[in-house]
């Protein structure tokens, strides 16, 4: 076959792309363009509709950051376990629920002692500690019963087991604590609102956001700076090689579960601080959100979990007001989850490795 004669002019980037691309690329491009167009039209409509004032948007943003930081705390548990075991711990959301109930009982006891109203700044760390202890303990139990037997088994069994564990926790809690909504008692002055630059902001939101940041910073410091963190990173990199250089892989896995559970416990208490009501079934929905945040940021990547959580929280808080409002939908807030999960689908289509990328993917490949 003779060589195809080239045209006099060099082909441009566009025709080069046309030549190399397949129909799949064309479809993907079409989806990208239509999604971008939808978002832009929605944005333009939402901003010109003028339903909300600038102050409203700032208030939504602050709320998005608060709930986002809670998602981030949950996402960390998913991401840490995935990084080390390559497994999704679907019972993680319910570990958070257990932590939240542990916090509830601690808060109840402190409330009876009068400490909650008198010294909220002392009481909150105690309640958080109870939540962390509850979450970590539950996480350790799950690891021992449900995951350790599968450590060297390559199958879907751990995943199925995790889903089963999730139901066991939900219904055990249902039997123990009942199905009704339980309310956290008030934390003294933390129940009020403050005026910031003319905006009324509920104090629990600020407290939860700051507490989440402190805990996240502590966790990052632990992973980056401590010998345990180094061992965790080594196990995540290559479990066998880590074992060869003398790292106790089993102990590292246990520590990972404990830390992930403690993070979930903190998330559970902070969630309750903001929303006041908890139920035994709340773990599932929040777990899915945390999982979505982990995927969004790039699973296995700690920074990604943080970013994913905040992005998801902001998208949920601002999405309906900014984008859906623009289409003149009658009740945009019913579709709040569509924004969050729609974003997840987009990420999976266009950037399967997540926003920051799965940290280990490239090195492994």
């Amino acid at each position: 076959m003779s060589e195809v004669p080239r045209s006099a002019t060099e082909p441009g980037a566009f025709s080069e792309w046309l030549r190399r691309s397949t129909w799949v690329d064309h479809v993907l491009l079409a989806i990208r363009i239509s999604v971008a167009a939808l978002v832009l039209v929605g944005l333009a409509g939402g901003l010109t509709a003028g339903t909300y004032s600038a102050a409203d948007f700032v208030s939504f943003t602050m709320f998005g950051l608060t709930i986002g930081s809670i998602y981030a705390l949950i996402a960390l548990g998913y991401t840490m376990v995935y990084g080390i075991l390559r497994m999704i711990n679907f019972a993680h959301g319910d570990v958070m629920m257990i932590g939240s109930f542990a916090g509830l009982f601690a808060a109840g006891a402190l409330n009876d002692a009068g400490l909650l109203n008198a010294l909220p700044l002392l009481a909150l760390p105690l309640v958080l500690a109870a939540g962390m202890a509850g979450g970590a303990t539950m996480s350790l139990i799950i690891e021992r019963i449900a995951y350790r037997p599968f450590l060297h088994v390559r199958s879907l069994a751990p995943l199925i087991c995790a889903i089963g564990m999730s139901f066991v926790l939900q219904y055990a809690a249902r039997g123990l604590f009942g199905t009704r909504n339980r309310a956290y008692p008030g934390f003294g002055w933390m129940e009020g609102t403050v005026s910031l630059f003319g905006l009324i902001v509920p104090i629990p939101q600020i407290v939860a956001f700051i507490a989440a940041l402190i805990v996240l910073a502590g966790l990052l410091a632990l992973v980056k700076l401590s010998p345990l963190g180094k061992a965790m990173r080594a196990v995540a990199e290559d479990r066998d090689a880590a074992a060869l250089v003398g790292i106790n892989v089993g102990a590292v896995i246990v520590a990972t579960f404990a830390i992930g559970g403690a993070m979930a416990g903190v998330a559970g208490v902070l969630y309750a601080l903001v929303f006041k009501q908890i139920t035994v079934f709340m773990g599932f929905a929040l777990g899915v959100k945390g999982f979505a945040a982990a995927i969004l940021g790039g699973i296995g990547n700690l920074g990604g979990a943080l970013l994913g959580g905040l992005v998801l929280g902001l998208a949920e808080a601002l999405g309906p007001a900014l984008v859906l409002e623009g289409f003149g939908l009658p009740a945009p807030y019913q579709l709040k989850d569509v924004i969050g999960y729609g974003m997840l689908v987009m990420i999976l289509i266009f950037r399967p490795q997540g926003l920051l990328g799965e940290r280990l993917a490239s090195k492994r490949a």
């Binding site: 909300y52 939504f60 909504n181 009324i200 009501q277 009740a331 989850d337």
Partner: protein, 411 residues
């Protein structure tokens, strides 16, 4: 082989004939839908299906207990025949309603069915029963669609003694407009058929009275952050928010409402779904001043206190709210209709025509029931509306007691 084929063909022919015209003559009665023959000494069987398991168990058990008291008050007999109530569990789901109705429909001696407790079960269960000519009298299913003028044929045999939600909507709209003098209102539903249909009915009635609906919003039952919705509503400055959503959503709504600028003084009226002690815990201190619209047992007939006494004596515990009274009235209505259409032959057997029984039930007029005078309209709504507006007065959960907390403020 031939024999098997022949009997199969006969069976098919019989089934075909049965599914066509069901007109039947038995003893002295000819009826278009069939006749139930009750041999002398045998009981008249009435089915019952309500929530015997799941979250609404207490309600379902109370309802059938109420029906049993009604039978007992009638001396346990109608036309000299003992009456037997066969209870089934409909849970509060479509699947439960289907299972229970199918089971009851399998018993050809059942003349009528009481129940179910929930609209979801009625939606599936009532047509199954009516297909066999068995009318059902709901004791807790309040969704307007079940007795709407354009309801499917399967619901032609469906009646209810519990008031249609439309009555609750009309009552709330007139309270808001005529009593409070409110001109603008907003509504929030959570996408469930009950809340959405109730909210739509309220909007229609409120507008008909000359009011304006400034915002009609929806949330989902799992939503925890209602601030954006409330902010959106606040921009329209309604004087009142009507939202018959359930406990957790009411908790979030009332706790977050005052954080939204411009809504601090707005009144909120909730629905009867939160008529329980749980809502006090969910809402916390903000519960004080929260209004709900719900049935009031104070407005039931003067026989209700006597009934409560009998009930307590029989079962060792007082009935919860008014659920049992609806069960009582359902049984009462059914027995009155049986009394009207039942015919005996010379040997003392009882014959009940199914179509005749249904027509007699639908024709119920001013029957003195426990909840009030029962009169059925052409669509099967027989309930006497006994609504009231209640106001919560304390955030102490243990203080829940209809009458004091919440307190009846209207009428």
């Amino acid at each position: 082989m031939n024999k098997v084929f022949f009997s199969a063909a006969t069976l098919a022919a019989v089934l075909l004939a049965a599914s066509g015209s069901r007109a039947e003559t038995l003893g002295p009665v000819t009826d278009a839908l069939g006749v139930v023959k009750i041999t002398k000494g045998q009981p008249i069987q009435i089915g019952g299906y309500s929530s015997q398991s799941g979250g609404d168990t207490n309600q379902g058990i109370d309802e059938l207990r109420g029906a049993e008291i009604a039978i007992k008050d009638a001396g346990g007999k109608v036309l000299g025949f003992p009456v037997k109530l066969l209870g089934e569990d409909a849970q509060c789901t479509a699947e439960g309603g289907q299972t229970a109705a199918t089971k009851l429909a399998g018993n050809k001696q059942i003349v009528a069915v009481l129940g179910p407790s929930c609209s979801s079960g009625a939606r599936v269960g009532a047509p199954i029963l009516w297909k066999l000519g068995i009318p059902s009298v709901a004791i807790g299913a309040t969704a307007p669609a079940l007795t709407a003028a354009d309801r499917p044929d399967g619901f032609k045999g469906f009646l209810r003694v519990v008031p249609n939600d439309l009555k609750s909507a009309a009552f709330t709209a007139s309270y808001a407009h005529d009593k409070l003098g409110v001109k603008t209102a907003a509504t929030i539903h959570d996408g469930s058929p009950y809340t959405e249909q109730l909210v739509r009915a309220f909007e229609k009635d409120f507008i008909a009275k000359g009011g304006t609906i400034v915002a009609s919003e929806a949330v989902s039952p799992t939503d925890t952050d209602l601030r954006p919705v409330l902010t959106r509503i606040a921009t329209k400055k309604p004087e009142l928010i009507f939202t018959p959503v359930f406990t957790s959503t009411v908790g979030f709504l009332m706790r977050q409402k005052d954080e939204v600028a411009g809504l601090a003084g707005t009144k909120v009226i909730g629905g009867e779904g939160v008529f329980s002690a749980n809502v006090i815990e969910a809402v916390g201190p903000k519960i004080i001043g929260f209004h709900i619209v719900g049935p009031s047992t104070d407005l039931f007939s003067e026989r209700f206190p006597v009934f409560v006494k009998n009930f307590t004596a029989e079962y060792g515990e007082a009935p919860i709210g008014g659920f049992s009274a609806y069960g009582y009235d359902a049984a009462l209505l059914t027995m009155a209709a049986i009394k009207e259409v039942g015919k005996t032959d010379a040997e003392g057997n009882l014959y009940i025509g199914r179509q005749a029984l249904h027509d007699a039930m639908m024709a119920t007029k001013a029957l003195p029931g426990l909840t009030g005078a029962l009169t059925c309209d052409t669509y099967g709504d027989c309930g006497a509306a006994t609504y009231a507006i209640w106001e919560f007065t304390s955030d102490d959960q243990s203080s829940f007691a209809p009458g004091t907390n919440p307190k009846r403020i209207f009428p």
